[in-house]
């Protein structure tokens, strides 16, 4: 298992101060006009506003978010299912574990050309990339969560006559829930990354396409605006999952 620091959106007072500081520095640097590649924060904000007003952002967002959902939902459902199965059944785990881990750390971006060969240059490729990027993280975290279930709880439930279904519903699932939600949070962030990579490589729709376009046409404030938009989406996805986490796991 890869020990990983849980990315807690640390938006306490230090967080706000740090972001505010960054914006100030950014604004100053931009005003100094050191290079055309660093526009001031206000210029970027203006560009962002403009893109929102003329509908560009919404157009891109609708395509991107749709692909995101089309990829992430299956990844979550299948990932949790496989993770539960692998956590519970040792043989399955021993057969698949190595492969899952290998795929999780592989440069999945290399598979995008393969996906294009498979599906053609279409938005399905983006959904597929989103799926690949998030699936393995979810599986691994779910599996870890199930494996971490206290043996004594399982034995206790068995002693009261619990069958397989009851064990899953009443012991394994609740016990693994924090880990599953962590996997979903990490998976959500990975999904957004996959979305951008996929879109940039097919260069057809969504935010990825805009990134390529503004890059090619040297529209730098607009480029920054899209980067910021993508960051916001990533943070919102993570926060969304975290909110679910808080609602579901109150006993922690």
């Amino acid at each position: 298992m890869t020990p990983r620091l849980t990315p807690e959106p640390a938006f306490g007072r230090a967080g706000l101060a740090a972001v505010a500081g960054l914006l100030i520095v950014w604004e100053v640097l931009g005003r100094l006009q050191l290079t055309i590649f660093i526009p001031s924060a206000s210029t970027v904000a203006a560009a962002w506003w403009e893109l929102l007003a003329n509908g560009t952002l919404l157009r891109s967002a609708s395509s991107s978010l749709l692909s995101l959902a089309k990829g992430f939902v299956p990844a979550a459902v299948l990932g949790i299912a496989l993770g539960l199965a692998m956590g519970r059944f040792r043989t399955l785990r021993e057969v698949l574990d190595g492969w899952i881990n290998a795929l999780m750390s592989a440069p999945l971006s290399a598979l995008v050309p393969v996906l294009i060969a498979l599906f053609g240059v279409r938005d399905t490729v983006v959904a597929a990339t989103v799926f690949l990027f998030s699936f393995f993280v979810i599986v691994v975290n779910t599996m870890t969560g199930v494996r971490g279930t206290e043996r004594s709880l399982v034995e206790m439930a068995r002693s009261y006559g619990a069958g397989e279904a009851a064990l899953f519903a009443r012991i394994y699932l609740p016990a693994a829930l924090p880990a599953i939600l962590l996997g979903l949070r990490l998976g959500a962030v990975q999904a957004v990354k996959g979305m951008v990579v996929g879109e940039m490589l097919i260069s057809l729709v969504g935010f990825g396409e805009r990134l390529i376009y503004y890059g090619n046409t040297f529209l730098i404030p607009e480029l920054y605006a899209v980067i910021v938009s993508v960051l916001i989406i990533a943070l919102l996805s993570a926060t969304l999952v975290q909110a679910c986490e808080r609602a579901l796991v109150r006993w922690k």
Binding site: T2, P3, R4, L5, P7, E8, P9, A10, F11, A14, G15, A17, A18, V19, G21, L22, E94, V95, L96, G98, W99, A102, S105, A106, P107, S109, A110, L111, P113, V114, I116, A117, L118, G120, V189, V192, K193, M195, V196, V197, M200, L201, F207, G208, L211, I212, Y214, G215, N216, F218, I220, L223, Y224, V226, I227, V230, L231, A234, L235, A238
Partner: protein
């Protein structure tokens, strides 16, 4: 022996699936596993694959090397200096959440299409993770061990070298493994987009020339290469951490 067969089962299943996908009428020019294997040997024989690998690995060494050289000390510093850690951590969190690929057009605009750009992209992909892990490693130092060392008269310097650093090593190494995985990811995305060199170029060229078997072979080779590099790192990690339970 039975274990080996079990482990290989998913691979066999995958190959069967692949073969079946190639037979489907929807996939245009989809190569079979055999065709891919043949193309792979061809590319290896002609030296194209090795040359592309060399170029790619150059960028990787540059970018990943920089990520380690800057990331690890920075993370350690963040862990030792509380205030710095609390603030810098926010920026790192943002960088980790941000899809680094979004920064590629900006990097290309700023630095052009060359190995330096590739290295910068690789750096951006991997450095935040390396730094974060080093930071976490320092923060997770068991207070009891610090107390014990103080009780035996350790100075601040000794505390750092004899307690904090060895204690943080497992997380630092895990961060390197994660960072290398991210580095390869960034390398491939960069090269697929930039195209002038490396494995990415090989993949894209083969695709535009509709030599899909060569493209698949290049993709396969890329995965093998990254897998081998990560495996080597994991072995080194296991050796350095042989004291673990």
């Amino acid at each position: 022996m039975k274990r080996l067969a079990a482990r290989g089962a998913p691979l066999a299943a995958f190959l069967a699936l692949w073969q079946w996908a190639a037979w489907l009428p929807i996939s245009f020019n989809f190569p079979t596993p055999w065709q891919t294997a043949v193309a792979l040997t061809e590319l290896l024989g002609s030296g194209a694959l090795l040359q592309a690998s060399a170029t790619s690995l150059q960028s990787l060494a540059l970018g990943f090397g920089a990520a380690i050289t800057i990331g690890v000390p920075l993370g350690l510093l963040m862990g030792m200096v509380r205030g710095l850690g609390r603030v810098a951590r926010v920026y790192l969190d943002l960088l980790i959440a941000l899809p680094s690929a979004a920064l590629i057009p900006l990097v290309i605009l700023s630095f052009g299409i060359n190995i330096f750009s590739s290295a910068v992209i690789i750096f951006v992909f991997s450095a935040p993770f390396i730094t974060m892990n080093a930071y976490g490693g320092v923060r997770d130092t068991r207070p009891r061990l610090v107390e014990m060392a103080r009780a035996f008269g350790a100075s601040w310097g000794k505390l750092f070298t004899r307690i904090v650093l060895p204690s943080a090593l497992p997380m630092i190494l895990a961060g390197l493994r994660l960072g290398l995985s991210r580095a390869f990811l960034g390398l491939i995305v960069a090269e697929l987009l930039l195209s002038p060199f490396g494995l990415g170029k090989l993949i894209m060229n083969s695709r535009s020339m509709f030599e899909h078997d060569k493209m698949f072979a290049a993709v396969l080779w890329t995965l093998i290469l990254s897998g081998a590099a990560l495996y080597a790192l994991a072995r080194a990690e296991a050796h350095l951490l042989k004291w673990r339970a």
